[in-house]
Amino acid sequence: MTEFTPVSAAIGGLLIGLAAALLLFANGRVAGISGILGQAMWPEAGDERGWRIAFIAGLPIGAVIVAQVGGPLETQIDASLPMLVLAGLFVGFGTRLGNGCTSGHGVCGMSRGSTRSVAATLAFMAVAGATVFVVRHVLGASA
């Protein structure tokens, strides 16, 4: 169980929105993390790797900076190791198949009014919620 933290949540959200705005204005790109990572690893003809690798490298750097100034960097993972592997495979395959994740569809796509992104976001939120419900309340794993 975690505390409700609306202020830090909103500040974090503002930073995420600013990051997406910066990538849009400076690079003309959508800040979709699964797409950036996938195309950095397996670029198609014409895909530039440099800015993609730089963006991905920035993510942990940002987290380190927050931790350095005394911010939260707690990572409580309850899933078992086999479950983490399975979940990772689903997240990797699914985000590439569906062309986006929480950032690309959930933030960037929805904010520019893409119906595909709205549909994808509703789908992954619903399935994620149903999965947590089954794991915690039907199978009875510790919450």
């Binding site: 609306p6 995420i16 929105g17 911010g71 979940a87 590439r96 198949l97 893409s114």
Partner: protein
Amino acid sequence: MNRTLSALLSGTIFGAGLAVAQMTNPAKVLGFLDAAGAWDPSLAFVMGAALLVSAIAYRVRGYTAQAANGIDTRLLAGACLFGLGWGLAGFCPGPAIASLVTGSGKVALFVASMVVGMGVYHLVLEQPGRAARSANHAA
């Protein structure tokens, strides 16, 4: 600004935002997804604030979505698979990559599996598709 530098800065701000919002903590994310339990609505505030800023940016820039090929099975199947993985672990791609700094073996295992999942997609679905497309061009 140099495009590599601006991307690095954007990624850094993004990662900082994820950490400040505690999206790097799977327990926090699962608390949001667990509406039937001790629900923690914090992540709705993350999403709301991010959407607000990003929507203004897209509007100012006049960015219009590319002619989308509509809502298809591929999009929904991918989103559902992603949702399943997200619900099982509490990690989506960005927070997982940002959390690598904790040095946790579990985070590394998740990220490695995620990259393998992307690679499987690339090998199984993208390569044959591209081969078929070039074959069509040749024909």
